[in-house]
């Protein structure tokens, strides 16, 4: 049990697990901070944070009710729902998608056109892999001019540092600090969102039956999470400390704080002022883009994917 502080097991509190999209990295610091600060406890939630193995996997776990909540990226969630999984987003927190192309600064890449003739590492099956060609086209680059090689998630960073690839697809707020820390060299990224394609990012996912049976709990969860993000944004050092203490084998604190700082940027509180609140337009855009440019074959109907009720009162 990676996150629960022992004394939070107060009687009467609901034991709740949230399964992350990946092993803990800076993006998750607010959750640990919230646990440490007792934000969840105040909502009657005894939260356990569990590492995950990819967003798709996490969505499936939620669908099977092996876990109460999932922390998942939006495109895999959309795929899961369109293939029949009884899950909903109850609020996306990273409203700017973190998908990007990362590379060492000395590559001198500043725009998508610079990728022509380069080799880019990607992981088949993840969100970026499917949208990358469309994103290139959107920026006037013929996808055939960029060579994509396939590397699994764990091997991607090594492949980049080793020079096996010129750039990799990835979440820049997560990987860039890690790579910089490892290689000592500066890493730059072209976020897809900065070049014409913003897809919703990670957020909370719940099973439909959970939403029906215990909406109060879901609401409490969204509320506590939202508060945790807001508070963490203002107390980043404390949040990093909380995570370093609460998560087993978290990255180094320097990496964590870089990741957290980047995460806060992605909350995009201009469009929807509170973390966990989204607009229908954001959802429509994301779904439309997915359905036009990827294998996603679900309907473009935000309510099928997203339950807006929990973010409303934040």
């Amino acid at each position: 049990s990676a996150g629960g502080t022992p004394d939070s097991a107060a009687e009467g509190n609901a034991a709740v697990t949230v399964t992350l999209n990946w092993v803990p990295y800076g993006e998750h610091a607010p959750l640990y901070y919230g646990v440490e600060q007792g934000f969840f406890e105040e909502e009657g939630i005894d939260l356990t944070i569990q590492p995950g193995n990819g967003s798709g996997n996490t969505v499936q776990q939620v669908a099977q009710r092996n876990t109460d909540f999932g922390w998942s990226d939006t495109p895999p969630l959309a795929n899961g729902i369109s293939s029949g999984m009884p899950v909903r987003s109850v609020g996306v927190f990273l409203q700017t998608g973190p998908s990007s192309v990362e590379f060492f600064a000395d590559q001198g890449i500043t725009e998508p056109a610079d990728l022509v003739g380069k080799t880019v590492g990607g992981t088949p099956g993840d969100a970026m892999y499917g949208t990358f060609p469309a994103w290139l086209e959107l920026n006037g680059v013929d996808p055939a001019d960029v060579k994509v090689v396939n590397v699994d998630a764990a091997g991607k960073i090594a492949a980049l540092i080793e020079g096996k690839v010129d750039a990799i697809q990835g979440f820049h707020h997560d990987q860039a600090p890690t790579i910089e820390n490892q290689s000592g060299e500066e890493v730059d990224a072209l976020p897809f969102a900065d070049f014409g394609m913003n897809l919703l990012g990670t957020g909370l996912v719940a099973n439909e039956s959970m939403i029906q049976e215990d909406p109060e709990l879901v609401e409490a969860m969204v509320r506590a999470t939202s508060r945790s993000f807001l508070e963490a944004a203002d107390n980043q050092d404390a949040a990093v400390k909380a995570m370093a203490a609460g998560a087993e084998q978290a990255p180094e604190e320097s990496v964590l704080s870089a990741q957290l700082a980047a995460t806060i940027e992605l909350l995009n509180l201009e469009e929807a002022p509170v973390p966990g609140t989204n607009t229908e337009e954001q959802w429509t855009d994301t779904l439309t883009f997915l359905s036009e440019n990827t294998d996603f074959d679900g309907e473009v109907a935000p309510t099928e994917y997203w339950d807006a009720t929990f973010g409303e009162d934040l």
């Binding site: 088949p124 764990a154 294998d295």
Partner: protein, 300 residues
Amino acid sequence: MTTTEDLRADSSDGPPTATARATAKDTAVPGRGRTSAWGQAVRLADASWRPLVVLGLLFAGWWFVAWRELVPAYLIPSPGAVLETMVSERAMLLEHTWVTTVETVLGFVIAAVVGVATAVLLVYSKTAEKSLYPLILFAQVIPKIAIAPILVVWFGFGLTPKIILAVLIAFFPVVVSAVAGLRSVDPELLEMSATMGASRWRTFVKIRFPGALPQLMSGLKVAVTLAVVGAVVGEFVGADRGLGFVLLLASGNLDAPLLFADLILMSLIGVVLFVLVELAEHLLIPWHASRRGSVVLAAS
């Protein structure tokens, strides 16, 4: 009268049919001993109806589960959907299947050759045994999924890392079974060979190796199924072709029909290669005691 099977299975109190069968045989049955094409077809049908029934049942169960929606379709898609995917994507799937098959076969062959060679070294040299065995064991116990990324970084995205993985994963069963086989040769046969002044090489080729074949074949059968896994894991980690790559795509997109189609093809490669090794076994060691029952003894 009582059949060989009965004895092989130690039936001390066999079924009452044994007598009936015996009587039937006593009243000379005409047409016995036919080795005609028809007879062969009958035998083949007799040998294969049970597996086919089992497969049929499996399929029916799957179909039923999907039909009654006992399990959500995103976990287990309907056979129809899978079949549809297989048909509509056949060109793509065939190409990837071919890639994985090539990797698997190459990996298996290398593992078999290197594995047997290593086993020979271990058996013939105490020094080699004591120094190499720990290394081999070490190479075996390291989870291959863990070192796959390192291999990709070192050997790039081509065929090499997949074959290396297939070899690494298939190697150990070959070594263990070959060592066991080479060791369990009747010492008297070795003595006999020694009095013939046979060189080590000749003793190996004519006595130890054929004697080790039954055990070696067990190891090869395990190895060939593992080689498939090795190739797929290699494709998992870094590839743009092969069934492992398709698997990643399918599972990333939560495309259950494609995923199942892919799994079925992987399994098919394994099954086909396994059956080929079994065929080789039948050709190479028809003499082995474990086979005698089916070859010898028949009264007219």
